[in-house]
């Protein structure tokens, strides 16, 4: 029984944490938040140099050929640092889509530049408010020509290429690959409540595009792609949740009221313990999610949904109660509490909301029972 990362993996975590403490201190996050760029290009370049974007890409395509434990570890650290870079779009989603569905030519063309970080990719799926389903998709691809509007596209303002979802049938979905720097693609930068991550609305008007792989993808395979991303996202959310808890604990030990540290009041200490419990539950579920992802287990759908729901709940709670613990100061622009509050909500809305994953979780439970029977 070994349900823990290896020594090498734990060393990677230390290294990643140290790197981000240097390269992505709160001042860097704040610079993006206050500035008019959607991401920190310098940090992105350094992350590429570290090989993080290459983590799970096979060596044959210029990657490091490490696995998903390593990627989960990096995701956690990026979450702790609230890193203002397009990592989740490019790595968890677009790169994964290429590896899962791309043909050899596509992989050979794009994976090496994705691995190096030279190319930023994104994943364009939503087409407006509410849930996006196979039958709600209006974007079309025919004869390598893409038409439709995607909004919002996370990190869409800085991406070079996009994996775009297009209508196919009620049970399949067509993925395509499109270079965004062409005349028939128009981008409108969008702000979200997290000013430190750029978004865009992207209109495709007969844009040149190519099918990802050879044909439509079953809805089930498409959901598997989202499951994989959900595990990594859960680790990112978990990192954020733990950092918010640490920040709240530090403040509660140091801030005095009524002649004693506020952390000695049960109203505060039990609040913090409650955050800890949610984080601990999320962490254990994230471990299982990482195992299911790395080992290619059949229980991935259940493990991913469980990790995702737990991390959504833990990170939203930790971010909001961190502010509450800080009192008035927590509500100022000057304090960093806002980073976690903004990012936690942003990440909870990516890839489908809490209700979506609760539903998927029970579907997975039903399938597991059906298989066992």
């Amino acid at each position: 029984m070994n349900f823990e990362f290896s020594e090498e993996q734990l060393m990677l975590r230390e290294q990643a944490r140290g790197f981000l403490a240097q390269q992505c201190p709160p001042a860097k996050v704040r610079a993006v938040l206050d500035g008019d760029q959607g991401h920190d290009a310098d940090l992105w370049a350094r992350v590429g140099e570290m090989g993080w974007t290459a983590t799970a890409i096979p060596e044959a395509y210029g990657g490091l050929g490490l696995g998903y434990y390593e990627l989960a570890i990096i995701a956690e650290e990026l979450g702790r640092a609230v890193a203002p870079i397009p990592f989740s779009s490019s790595v968890y989603l677009a790169t994964e889509a290429l590896m899962a569905f791309g043909n050899e030519t596509q992989k050979a063309r794009w994976l090496p530049v994705l691995a190096s970080g030279e190319c930023i990719a994104t994943f364009a799926h939503a087409e407006g408010p509410g849930q996006t389903t196979a039958s709600s998709l209006a974007t079309t691809l025919s004869d390598n020509t893409l038409s439709g509007s995607k909004k919002p596209v996370v990190d869409g303002e800085c991406a070079h290429i996009a994996v775009v979802t297009c209508q196919s049938s009620s049970e399949t979905i067509q993925l395509c690959l499109v270079e965004l720097d062409q005349d028939s693609v128009s981008r409108q930068p969008l702000q979200t409540l997290d000013f430190s991550r750029g978004h865009a609305a992207i209109d495709f008007t007969n844009a040149a595009a190519q099918k990802l792989g050879d044909g439509a993808v079953s809805w089930r395979d498409f959901e598997a792609l989202l499951d994989r991303a959900a595990v990594l996202m859960a680790w990112e959310q978990l990192g954020l949740a733990d950092k918010a808890l640490e920040q709240a604990c530090d403040y509660a030990k140091q801030r005095y009221a009524f002649g004693r540290p506020i952390g000695s009041f049960q109203a505060i200490k039990h609040k913090l313990a409650g955050m800890y419990v949610k984080n601990a539950i999320a962490r254990s579920n994230a471990y299982y999610g990482a195992w299911a992802l790395a080992s290619g287990s059949e229980s991935l759908p259940l493990a991913a949904a469980t990790a995702r729901v737990a991390s959504i709940q833990a990170s939203l709670h930790a971010a909001q109660e961190n502010i509450q613990t800080h009192g008035g100061m927590g509500f100022t622009w000057e304090f960093d509490c806002q980073f976690y509050y903004r990012r936690a909500k942003l990440l909870s809305l990516a890839l489908g909301s809490e209700r979506h994953w609760q539903d998927r979780l029970v579907t997975a439970l039903e399938q597991q029972t059906a298989t066992a029977a």
Binding site: P129, T133, G259, Q324, G328, Y341
Partner: protein, 402 residues
């Protein structure tokens, strides 16, 4: 039970409504004016017509109205889009304190101009090191002749930048216990040595200020209560803060959630058909309706001539976290689109986001959730106080962690 006015109440309401209809601000009146200028114009018009601060004595510009008449007036005035927030602190919280604790000269000097809207006031209580522990404030006032010299810093001061006067609580004796060494004053916000700096909030707005006092001189005649009585004076202000029965304000609520849930889909059906969505909306409605009818019960008490009790403090304690939760829920219904920032607060996402970003402040300002819960436990349920580490200790010997 009867939701209708008594005959007396109905007569008063008719009179108020008629005056409002006759005297409302026209587009012409307000053209080109700032919100503050409009507010001052309207306040002056009410004052001239005898409808300003109607609960006050006539000598200060009021008409000695009953609490329920004040509520009726508020309900009628609310039907017109008039800005009022600039006067809430001065008229609702500081004026009663002036009436209770200052000299007749100060009353005559300040109250009519408060009623007429000519002068705007702010409240200078909180400090960086005294938030929930309000009495731990450190701003010093030292006597010099028949003046006092104030040095220190206040924070979370709403409206400091447009206020003419402020009510300040200071420490005049750090060698006695925390609550005993305080003294309250009226202070001229335009006096030399007063410096105001806006605080940028999470929302990007700046509703509050830091105010720095450097050798600011205040005449002894501006003192409220005796030297050392500042905590009792402050309690008068705070009590009036809690008694203020206001409209809940706008924000994400059940109608907004219903509206979004009818527009977006879940599994290709309107989200409002989804049972999980319904269960959440139902729970939010329970809270919203409960607070609304709680307010009706408080009004009934006023109508009977009773004062609403401390049980009214559940409003903010329930309302602020509910606002945070329902705003988050509305954004979830919109899925990724819910994150898109909108400055149009009338839009579906804009209203949800403004509420989501503003709610953390609401859970803190005017007493954190934790302080409000303590108040309910101690004052409503009669549970014993926490042990007090600072009790009976000279203020300058209380542990501060520094």
């Amino acid at each position: 039970m009867d939701f209708n006015d008594t005959p007396e109440e109905a007569a008063f309401r008719t009179e108020a409504a008629r005056w409002l209809a006759d005297n409302q601000l026209t587009a012409q009146d307000t053209e080109g004016l700032s919100r503050l200028a409009i507010a001052k114009l309207w306040q002056k018009r009410k004052y001239d017509g005898g409808w300003a601060c109607i609960g006050w004595d006539e000598q200060y510009g009021g008409r000695g109205a009953t609490p329920i008449q004040r509520v009726i007036w508020g309900q009628e005035e609310e039907k017109y889009n008039v800005p009022s927030r600039f006067f809430v602190i001065g008229q609702g919280m500081i004026a009663p304190t002036i009436m209770a604790w200052s000299s007749p000269e100060c009353c005559d000097r300040f109250l009519p101009k408060l009623a007429s809207g000519e002068e705007i006031w702010c409240q200078l209580f909180s400090e960086p090191a005294s938030g929930s522990d309000l009495a731990a404030l450190r701003t010093k006032a030292e006597p010099e002749g028949d003046e006092w010299v104030i040095n220190g810093q206040k924070i979370w001061t709403s409206g400091a930048h447009y206020s003419d006067y402020g009510m300040i609580v200071t420490r005049t004796d750090p060698t006695v216990a925390k609550h005993k060494g305080l003294t309250a004053f009226l202070v001229d916000m335009k006096a030399p040595g007063v410096e105001t700096r806006p605080i940028k909030q999470l929302t990007g707005d700046s509703d509050f200020n830091e105010v720095y006092f450097t050798d600011v001189r205040v005449p002894d005649g501006f003192r409220l209560g005796d030297v050392g009585q500042g905590w009792q004076v402050a309690l008068t202000t705070l009590m009036n803060e809690r008694l203020a029965i206001g409209g809940g304000g706008s924000g994400a609520d059940v109608p907004l959630a219903m509206k979004i849930a009818r527009e977006v889909t879940i599994n290709d059906q309107p989200a409002i058909k989804d049972s999980a969505v319904r269960a959440k909306i139902a729970n939010f409605h329970v809270l919203e309706a409960g607070l609304k009818y709680n307010g009706y019960r408080a009004l009934s008490a006023l109508s009977r001539g009773d004062l609403p009790g401390p049980e009214n403090s559940i409003g903010k304690l329930v309302g602020a976290p509910k606002l945070q939760d329902i705003a988050s829920f509305c954004m979830d219904l919109l899925e990724e689109h819910g994150a898109l920032w909108s400055d149009d607060f009338e839009s579906l996402t804009g209203m949800a986001q403004r509420s989501y970003m503003g709610a953390p402040g609401l859970r803190i300002a005017g007493g954190t959730d934790e302080i409000m819960t303590n108040i309910i436990a101690e004052r409503v349920l009669g549970l014993p106080q926490d042990p007090r580490a600072d009790k009976g200790i000279p203020f300058n010997e209380v542990p501060t962690g520094n």
